[in-house]
C-alpha cells in the first residue's frame, strides 16, 4: 500500500503557478495571450441573467389561461418597463378595463396558455473577474476566461475562510511558535497580509479586521472563535464565500500549534512583497485548500516542479503528525514496517516509526502523518 498516507500541503519556494480564471457563464475575454496583468486587471466579463418574476396574469384578470393571448400587450422577447401594462382586458364597451402592470423592468420570457403565467426576466447583472495574481496571460479560454501564469512562491494552508485578497506581507511575530494577539497589530497593517505564529487570538483577529488588514496567515485558530466569526458552527468545510474584511488562513489546524518552520521561514523571506491569498476551502469532492501566492520577478532559476513530485513515504521522509497524541510534531521516518501493528486504541493499522525533532521516537499510524513536500 504505497500510498497509504496523506499527501502533504504544498510549500514551494519558487514554482510555476497557473490559475484558471473562468466566468460562471460565457462572456467576453478582455485580455490577449501574452498580456502582462496585475492582480486587479479585469480579464473577462459577462452578464448574469437577471432574476425571474412569475406573474399569473390569467388569475389576476380572472380569465381562463387559454384566453391570455387576447389580452397580452407584449409578446415573447419584448422589453418592458416597470409599471408598463402587461395585459389589458377588453372591458365592457371599452369601459371597466382591467390591467396587469409589470412589477419590474426587463423582458417577457414566456407566456403560458396552460398555467396562465407570464415569466418576466429582469435586466442582466454585469460581473467581472480579475487576474487574482500578477503574471502573464498564457492561454485564452474562448468566451470563458483565461489562464494566468507566474513564477513565484506557492504555499497551501489547511483551512481558511474569506475569499480572494491581495496585500503586502507583514511578519509581526518573532518566530513560528509565537501567538498573534491584538498588541502586535497596528493601523500600519491596513491592507496587509499579517503573518502570525502558532495561533491567532479572537482579539487579534478582531483588531486585524478593525484596522482593515487584508488577511492573516497563522498556524492555528480555536474552533469556538471560528463559531463567533461565522455566527454558526461550521458543519461542513466548504468556505470562501464569507464576506470578511480579513481573510484567515490556517497552515496547521485548530488549536494552538506552531507554524511549520519551512512555511514560516519562506513567508518571512517574502516580507514586504505583494501576495495574493484565497481562504476558500473545500474538503469534499474536489478538494480545495486555501493558498498564498507571491509572484516573483526575474529568472526561473531554481524552479521546482509545479505539480510536486508525488513519491511515497520513504525512510528519511520529513513528516508531520496530524493527530493526537503528537499532533503538529515534525520528524523523519526511521522505519516502515510492512505488517499491521496494534495501537493503544487496539486498531490494527499500518504504521511507521518516526524520530521527532526533539529526538523522541514514536510509532504512528501511517494515516496520521502527512508528508512535508517541497
Amino acid at each position: 500500500m504505497a500510498h497509504a498516507y496523506t499527501p502533504g500541503l504544498r510549500v514551494s519556494e519558487k514554482t510555476v503557478i497557473r490559475k484558471e480564471r473562468r466566468l460562471p457563464l460565457k462572456g467576453e475575454v478582455v485580455v490577449a495571450k501574452g498580456d502582462r496583468v496585475t492582480s486587479d486587471t479585469v480579464v473577462a466579463r459577462t452578464h448574469l441573467p437577471g432574476n425571474v418574476q412569475l406573474v399569473n396574469v390569467a388569475s389576476k384578470l380572472g380569465l381562463p389561461p387559454e384566453d391570455l393571448p387576447s389580452v397580452m400587450q407584449k409578446k415573447d422577447g419584448d422589453p418592458i418597463e416597470k409599471g408598463e401594462p402587461l395585459a389589458i382586458t377588453q372591458g365592457f364597451f371599452g369601459f371597466f378595463k382591467s390591467k396587469v402592470l409589470s412589477p419590474c423592468e426587463g423582458s417577457v420570457e414566456s407566456i403560458s396558455t396552460v398555467t396562465g403565467q407570464v415569466i418576466l426576466r429582469e435586466p442582466p447583472t454585469p460581473i467581472e473577474i480579475d487576474a487574482y495574481m500578477d503574471g502573464e496571460v498564457v492561454e485564452i479560454l474562448p468566451e470563458e476566461g483565461v489562464v494566468v501564469q507566474t513564477i513565484g512562491t506557492f504555499i497551501q494552508g489547511i483551512f481558511g475562510v474569506g475569499g480572494e485578497k491581495t496585500g503586502e506581507i507583514a511578519v509581526v511575530v518573532d518566530g513560528p511558535g509565537q501567538p498573534l494577539d491584538a498588541s502586535l497589530i497596528t493601523e500600519a497593517h491596513k491592507g496587509k497580509i499579517i503573518i502570525g505564529g502558532s495561533h491567532v487570538t479572537w482579539d487579534g483577529f478582531q483588531k486585524a479586521t478593525d484596522v482593515g488588514a487584508a488577511g492573516i496567515v497563522v498556524g492555528g485558530f480555536d474552533d469556538p472563535d471560528l463559531k463567533r466569526l461565522l455566527g454558526k458552527d461550521l458543519g461542513v468545510a466548504i468556505t470562501g464565500h464569507e464576506d470578511l474584511v480579513t481573510a484567515l488562513i490556517l497552515t496547521e489546524g485548530f488549536g494552538e500549534m506552531a507554524m511549520a518552520h519551512g512555511t514560516f521561514d519562506l513567508l518571512k523571506a517574502r516580507e514586504g512583497k505583494k501576495a495574493s491569498i484565497n481562504g476558500a476551502t473545500q474538503i469534499r469532492a474536489g478538494v480545495i485548500r486555501p493558498e498564498i501566492v507571491v509572484s516573483l520577478e526575474g529568472d526561473s532559476a531554481g524552479l521546482q516542479d509545479a505539480e510536486g513530485s508525488i513519491t511515497g513515504l520513504e525512510i528519511g521522509s520529513l513528516i508531520r503528525a496530524i493527530r493526537e497524541p503528537h499532533f503538529g510534531s515534525l520528524g523523519r521516518v526511521t522505519e516502515l514496517p510492512n505488517e499491521l501493528r496494534k495501537m493503544e486504541s487496539e486498531s490494527m493499522v499500518r504504521v511507521l516509526m518516526v524520530e521527532f525533532e526533539d529526538g523522541e521516537q514514536a510509532l504512528l499510524p501511517r494515516a496520521n502523518v502527512e508528508m512535508i513536500e517541497a
Binding site: M1, A2, H3, A4, T6, P7, P49, N51, V52, Q53, L54, P65, E109, S110, S112, V114, T115, Q117, I119, R121, I158, F159, D222, D223, P224, L226, K232, D233, L234, G235, V236, A237, G253, F254, G255, T281, I283, R284, A285, G286, V287, E307, G308, I310, I322, R323, E324, P325, F327, M343, E344, S345, E346, S347, M348, L364, P365, A367, N368, E370
Partner: protein, 600 residues
C-alpha cells in the same frame, strides 16, 4: 469465464469518498468465499484526479495479500485461469460526492415525497425538494436551482389524468432557472419527468431545448400507489451516462467493469432488501460513512432509504457536532475533556479526514460522535419512512379510535428483527462489542432484536455482484459478510434505578442455568456464540414490555453471536444520568459489562 463457463474468481471495488476498497472472491471447494480485502485512498482529487489509481492500488494490495495475480500492468487479467486473472470485475462508487439530485413534485407531502423516495432509493443525495406548496416564492425556487447545480433533476407531479397546471408550473420554474450540470459545463443537465402523463407534451416544450429531458412512467399514477421503479432505473442509467462519465478517471473505469457501476448506497440498499425478502423479516440497516450516513429499512414489506448527507465520521464529523450539540456528544464520553479540546479535535478530523484514532480516549470520543450521528440519521429516517400520505383509508372501529393517520412512520422498533451496521466506525471497531454498543445506543432497539455488522464493509460490492451473479453474492454474504453480534433483549418502560425490571431465565449451551432478577438501569451480556441458540424465558416486571405486552412473560429461542446474549434494562425511552460523576460511572459500568475496552 473459466472452463465450462463457471465464474471462479471475482474482484469488486467500492470507490468511497475517502477509501477505495477491493475484495477478491473465489470459488473454493464448490462454494464462493471471500479471500482477501485490500484498500487504498480514493484518488478522485488532485494531485491524482483519476479514480483508477486508487482502484489499481487497492487491487494491488489484494494481489499482495492473496498471491493471486490480477493485474497485468494496468490491465485486469480476464478470464481467470486458476492462478491468474478474474472472471468478473465490478465496482460501486460514491466518490466525488456521489449522486446529487434535486427533486420536484406538486404537493410536498405527496408527489414530491414520492419523488424523493425514488431518488433516495436509487442511491442519490437529495439536495432539495421543490414543491408548489413548499412556502417559497417562484424566484426563490429558481435561485435555489441555479445555486445548487445538481447532477440531475427528477420532476414529478399530478396523478395520471388529473390537472396538469401545477406540474407545468414546476416545469416553467425549472426552465426559467436554466439549470447547469454540476460537472461538465458542456453538457445539458439531465431532467427526468415522471409525472402526470397528460403533461408530457407541455413539459417537453418547456424543457427539451434547455435540458436533456427523459420521460418515464408517472411515479404516483394514482394516490394510493407509488410506481418508483421506472424513475429509479432511469436515475441509475443517467448516473452512469452523465455523472460517472464526467468524474475524473471514470470513463476508463467504466471500460474495465463487466456490469454498470452502481452508486454505493443503491448497492447496499439492494442487499438489505434481499435479506428482508429471503428471511421474511423486518430489517433496519445503516451505513455510516465519512461524508454521509444512510439508513435502510424494510418494515411491512416496504423498503425505505434515507441519506443524511451531512452526517458522517470524517468530512461531515463537524456537522454531527453542529447538529447534535456538544452536550449530546459529550454525554457518551466516559471521561472529562474540556469543550475547547473536543471542538478543536473534531475540527482537525474534519480538515484531515483520513486520520484514525491512535489513543484509547480518541477512539472513545470518535465512538461517542458515531452514536450521535446514528441517532440523528435514524431520527430523519423515522420521519421519512412513512405510509403514503393523502390516501383515504378504510378503518375498522379500533383503528378509528386509535386515530392512526396516513403518513405515520412505518418504523416500529418492537417489530424489528435484525439491525445491521456497516461503515468504517462500525465494521472496523477494534472490538465487536463496541459496534454492538454503538448500534444499541444509536438506535435503541426495543424487545428482541438480532444485531449484526458487515464484517469488513463489503455490502456495496456484494450489492452490485448480486445484480450479475446472485449465487456468489448470497454465499459470500451469508458466510463472510455478516458478523452476527448476538441478540438484544430490551424491555420498554421506565423504572427506578435498582428496582426490578425483568426476570431472565435460560440455560446456556455449556449447561449453566441462568435465573436472574435484573434491576432497572443495567447492561448484562451472557456468552452465546455464533451458531448457538438458547431458549430464554423473559418475565417483565409490571409496566415493562419485552415484546409480548406490558408485564407479559414469554419464551423464545434466541441466537448468539460474537458478543452474545445482551440484556439492556436501561429502559425505553432511554435517559442518561445528568450528574457528571454518575454518568461517567454508568458508562464505564456498561462498557465493562461488554468488555468493550482494554483496561486503562
Amino acid at each position: 469465464m473459466s472452463e465450462n463457463g463457471k465464474v471462479k474468481a471475482i474482484v469488486a471495488t467500492d470507490c468511497g469518498s475517502t477509501t477505495t476498497k477491493a475484495i477478491l472472491i473465489k470459488l473454493v471447494d464448490g462454494e464462493y468465499r471471500l479471500i482477501v480485502r485490500g484498500e487504498a485512498p480514493t484518488t478522485v482529487e488532485a494531485p491524482f484526479e483519476d479514480v483508477t489509481r486508487g482502484v489499481l492500488n487497492a487491487i494491488r494490495e489484494v494481489e499482495e495479500l492473496s498471491g493471486h495475480e490480477i493485474l497485468d500492468g494496468e490491465d485486469i487479467i480476464h478470464p481467470n485461469d486458476g492462478m491468474r486473472g478474474v472472471d468478473l470485475y465490478l465496482s460501486t462508487s460514491s466518490a466525488g460526492g456521489g449522486l446529487q439530485m434535486m427533486v420536484a413534485g406538486v404537493v410536498k407531502s405527496m408527489t414530491a415525497e414520492s419523488a424523493e423516495r425514488a431518488a433516495l432509493g436509487a442511491g442519490s443525495i437529495v439536495m432539495d425538494v421543490l414543491a408548489s406548496n413548499d412556502g417559497r416564492l417562484p424566484h426563490e425556487q429558481i435561485e435555489r436551482i441555479r445555486h445548487l447545480r445538481p447532477d440531475m433533476i427528477l420532476l414529478s407531479g399530478g396523478i395520471d389524468g388529473g390537472t396538469i397546471t401545477h406540474v407545468v408550473e414546476l416545469g416553467q420554474i425549472i426552465s426559467a432557472a436554466d439549470p447547469k450540470a454540476r460537472l461538465g459545463a458542456e453538457y445539458h443537465l439531465p431532467v427526468i419527468y415522471a409525472g402526470n402523463k397528460d403533461a408530457k407534451g407541455e413539459v417537453a416544450k418547456l424543457l427539451e431545448s434547455k435540458t436533456s429531458l427523459y420521460q418515464v412512467d408517472n411515479l404516483r399514477p394514482v394516490l394510493e400507489r407509488e410506481n418508483l421503479g421506472p424513475a429509479r432505473d432511469k436515475i441509475h442509467d443517467l448516473f452512469m451516462e452523465h455523472v460517472m462519465a464526467q468524474a475524473p478517471g471514470y470513463s476508463k473505469l467504466m471500460g474495465w467493469t463487466d456490469a454498470p457501476i452502481m452508486p454505493t448506497p443503491g448497492a447496499v440498499g439492494s442487499m438489505i432488501e434481499a435479506i428482508a425478502e429471503r428471511q421474511g423479516i423486518e430489517v433496519l440497516g445503516v451505513d455510516i460513512g465519512g461524508a454521509t450516513t444512510d439508513v435502510f429499512s424494510v418494515f411491512k414489506k416496504t423498503f425505505n432509504r434515507t441519506v443524511s448527507a451531512n452526517l458522517g465520521m470524517s468530512y461531515s464529523v463537524s456537522n454531527v457536532l453542529a447538529e447534535a450539540g456538544i452536550e449530546n456528544v459529550m454525554r457518551w464520553v466516559p471521561f472529562k475533556l474540556p469543550e475547547l479540546s473536543v471542538r478543536n479535535r473534531i475540527k482537525n478530523k474534519m480538515i484531515r479526514p483520513t486520520t484514525v484514532p491512535q489513543s484509547l480516549d480518541d477512539l472513545k470520543l470518535e465512538q461517542a460522535i458515531a452514536r450521535e450521528a446514528l441517532r440523528l440519521a435514524f431520527k430523519q429516517h423515522k420521519d421519512f419512512a412513512v405510509s403514503l400520505k393523502g390516501v383515504q383509508q378504510e378503518r375498522t372501529i379500533s383503528e378509528a379510535f386509535s386515530q392512526s393517520a396516513s403518513g405515520e412512520t412505518l418504523v416500529n422498533m418492537m417489530d424489528l428483527d435484525l439491525l445491521v451496521g456497516s461503515g468504517g466506525v462500525l465494521s472496523h471497531a477494534p472490538r465487536r462489542q463496541q459496534a454492538a454498543m454503538m448500534l444499541i445506543d444509536g438506535f435503541l432497539p426495543e424487545g428482541i432484536t438480532r444485531l449484526a455488522v458487515d464484517s469488513i464493509f463489503m455490502m456495496p460490492q456484494l450489492g452490485v455482484l448480486a445484480e450479475v451473479h446472485q449465487q456468489s453474492a448470497t454465499e459470500v454474504f451469508d458466510k463472510d459478510c455478516l458478523i452476527h453480534l448476538g441478540t438484544l433483549v430490551a424491555p420498554v418502560g421506565v423504572g427506578q434505578e435498582g428496582k426490578p425490571c425483568i426476570k431472565f431465565e435460560t440455560t446456556l449451551p455449556d449447561g449453566t442455568a441462568v435465573a436472574e432478577d435484573l434491576p432497572f438501569g443495567e447492561m448484562k451480556v451472557y456468552p452465546l456464540g455464533v451458531g448457538e441458540t438458547a431458549t430464554v424465558k423473559v418475565t417483565p416486571a409490571r409496566g415493562f414490555d419485552a415484546g409480548a405486552g406490558p408485564g407479559k412473560p414469554f419464551e423464545s429461542t434466541l441466537s448468539g453471536g460474537v458478543v452474545g446474549l445482551i440484556v439492556d434494562t436501561r429502559g425505553r425511552p432511554f435517559v442518561l444520568p445528568t450528574d457528571e460523576n454518575e454518568r461517567v460511572r454508568k458508562l464505564d459500568k456498561w462498557a465493562a459489562a461488554f468488555d468493550a475496552y482494554p483496561a486503562s
